[in-house]
């Protein structure tokens, strides 16, 4: 069967009335939560994971797909109207979008962001559908050592290649690894780092850690900044419709943004936010109105927003085909799969094609729903933005703890939530990135497993890790990604890298 047949089959799965309903609930919830200031896609997905607990795997993942795309959409509304981006991927959108909103062109800014996200989501999801089978074929010839090398590369790019400090990125990653050791060793059944506490034998739940670090850590950090007065929400004045000139200036930016964002997201390496910066720079260079940049140029919204959504779809390529999460959001989605005992990867395409293709098809459907939902409902989303901070954060913590209690109603689990929340707060104070902890926790055990398998095959010969050409090349790239930024920073060229930091929360 060709990709097209698979996709058609997926459409049949996704178009079942119940699944359409799940997708609709997903996109609505995702947008509503994503639009809240300070909440990025990673936290949106983590907070809404419990809503899907009791559904069947198919329905749950379809709702999840909707939440993911909805969260991405919601984030752009926030950054255009509020100038406090919930995620660094939206910083660029805020740059021009908020300026446009202040000039009374908030409507067209939202429209170009929404339509650009739609175009990018559509192309990138189709890209995902057509690339995935090839990556799966490639992945099937991968042995443990190639997987291990791939994971090492992801570790380096997620933790230290971008951001402002190699030391702090690596420290975050290794804190994640240290937490990942906790529990029963998968190969020998020995309990590690559990100190006789039965609650620790299962290891640390990724969702508990993610919710604690993102929701509680962020709430504590915002609270600790004290009273700063209410953020100013720009009203959407005038028409939400784009003029002919807006269209003419936007459509090329959408396509360029997609072309930049998708490959970057699809690479099995972290840092999906880079695409938005590259797209912004490209638009600025190619624009016929360069003088408008910094004062509300519509290309500066259209391109990066498209790049953002395209790379979000792109991150699903390594996640679905290789089981490799390269962003915190993807790590939480992987946890969502694992709660049903599903391990994304090449095998999932073989054993559960209905599920995978149903998921991809429902991404397309979610994308359509968002376009229809978003523009007419923009007034409602704007209302959500004006919720006063005390109620907003009280609500966030209510739902953050709800998820943990729903998964495991134990005092111990809540204690861990509190402890990791405080850890997340402390890490924020000192400028440690959060995403590497989450990725380290979920990917660490998988990497250990692959390494031990590889060494078991070679009977303990470590050189085997470097003798496969694929693995060797990947490890060399990983080493370069670790060392080059170190040199750049030592020479005082680090600002560029810290701007590219993958700081999604």
């Amino acid at each position: 069967m060709t990709t097209f047949d698979f996709l058609l089959q997926g459409m049949l799965v996704a178009a079942q009335p119940m699944n359409l309903l799940y997708a609709l609930i997903g996109v609505t919830l995702g947008t509503a939560v994503g639009v809240l200031p300070g909440i990025g896609p990673a936290l949106t997905v983590a907070l809404l994971l419990p809503v899907t607990y009791r559904l069947d795997p198919g329905g749950s993942l379809i709702m999840f797909a909707g939440i993911y795309y909805g969260g991405m959409y919601g984030g752009s509304t926030t950054s255009i109207l509020l100038n406090t981006p919930g995620e660094s991927a939206s910083i660029v959108t805020a740059l021009e979008g908020n300026k446009m909103a202040r000039k009374g062109r908030g409507g067209p800014a939202l429209a170009t962001a929404a339509i650009g996200s739609f175009v990018a989501g559509l192309i990138a999801t189709l890209g995902l559908a057509f690339i995935a089978p090839f990556v799966v074929k490639l992945a099937l010839v991968f042995g443990p050592r190639e997987y291990f090398a791939l994971m090492v590369l992801a570790f380096v790019t997620v933790s230290s290649a971008f951001g402002d400090s190699t030391l702090r990125g690596l420290t975050s990653l290794f804190i994640g690894f240290a937490l990942a050791i906790i529990g029963i060793d998968q190969l020998t059944g020995q309990a590690r780092m559990s100190f006789g506490v039965p609650d620790l034998l299962d290891g640390i739940e990724v969702t508990t850690l993610a919710v604690a670090m993102f929701a509680i850590g962020e709430s504590l950090y915002i609270a600790a900044q004290g009273e700063q007065g209410p953020d100013k929400v720009e009203a959407v004045k005038g028409s939400v419709w784009m003029t002919a000139q807006d269209w003419a200036r936007s459509w090329k930016a959408w396509l360029r943004g997609t072309a930049i964002g998708f490959p970057i997201g699809a690479m099995p390496a972290g840092g999906a936010e880079i695409g938005t910066f590259l797209s912004y720079a490209t638009e600025k260079r190619l624009s016929k109105h360069p003088e408008e940049f910094g004062h509300g140029a519509i290309e500066g919204v259209a391109g990066p927003e498209a790049a953002n959504n395209a790379s979000a779809a792109g991150t699903l390529v390594p996640l679905l085909t290789l089981g490799l999460p390269t962003t915190a959001t993807a790590a939480i989605m992987l946890a969502g799969f694992q709660q049903y005992g599903l391990q994304p990867g090449p095998l999932l395409f073989a054993t559960n094609p209905q599920l995978v293709w149903g998921l991809i098809a429902s991404l397309l459907i979610a994308n359509f729903m968002l376009l229809v939902l978003n523009l007419p409902l923009v007034g409602l989303w704007v209302k959500l933005l004006t919720i006063p901070k005390p109620w907003l954060y009280a609500g966030i913590l209510l739902f953050a703890t709800l998820g943990t209690i729903g998964a495991n109603p134990s005092v111990f689990e809540l204690g861990m939530l509190l402890a990791f929340g405080v850890l997340g707060y402390a890490m924020r104070i000192f400028g440690y990135p959060i995403a590497p902890v989450v990725v380290g926790l979920i990917l660490g055990p998988l990497a250990e497993q692959q390494l031990r398998r590889a060494l078991a095959i070679s009977q303990g010969d470590v050189t085997v890790l470097f003798t496969s050409p694929v693995a060797a090349v990947l490890l060399v790239i990983a080493a370069a990604a670790l060392i080059v930024p170190l040199i750049l920073r030592a020479r005082g060229r680090g600002q560029v890298l810290s701007q590219l930091a993958a700081n999604e929360d």
Partner: protein
């Protein structure tokens, strides 16, 4: 967590908070060494057992601790924004209260307390007003999630009135 000494403008003094982080990392490494050393005897024929990777992780943590000390002494840590601890204590207190009252009093009351404490942390200190609101809201959430979505949220006296 001293009051944001800015290393770039002041003379470079050792950053105490960063040294504390280094101690924490070293302690974490020590904990891993101590716990997994009893597993060191178990090795498979691959020469790598359940203790090998933890040893590697702990060793790297020690290196990172040393690197942190180095950066702390050079004053390379970024400047920190001033933190107000009152709100932080409100929220941590709320989370602790929820943790302790969840089993005896049920989801709505426990989480209502958390809700009110968080709102207090953000400036709404009228507890006589926020606690009832929080409890009613959480009861609504409980009815939706425990009732409709069948999530197992602990029930207390209040929830038993409805279910």
């Amino acid at each position: 967590m001293s009051k944001g000494n800015t290393p770039s403008t002041q003379t470079r003094r050792p950053d105490r908070a960063a040294l504390v982080i280094a101690v924490f990392l070293a302690a974490l490494a020590g904990l891993i060494f101590w716990d997994t050393s009893r597993l060191a005897q178990i090795t498979s024929y691959s020469g790598i057992g359940p203790a090998t990777i933890p040893f590697v992780i702990a060793s790297v943590l020690l290196l990172l601790a040393a690197w942190t000390v180095f950066e702390a002494l050079r004053g390379d840590f970024p400047a920190r924004e001033r933190q107000e601890f009152g709100p932080v204590i409100w929220i941590i207190g709320g989370l602790a209260a929820q943790m302790l009252t969840l089993k005896p009093l049920g989801f709505s009351i426990a989480t209502g307390l958390l809700f009110a404490a968080t709102a207090a942390g953000f400036g709404k200190r009228k507890l006589w007003f926020t606690i009832p609101i929080g409890i009613v809201l959480c009861l609504g959430v409980w009815l939706v999630f425990a009732g409709l979505l069948q999530l197992s949220l602990p029930a207390g006296p209040l929830e038993h009135l409805f279910w």
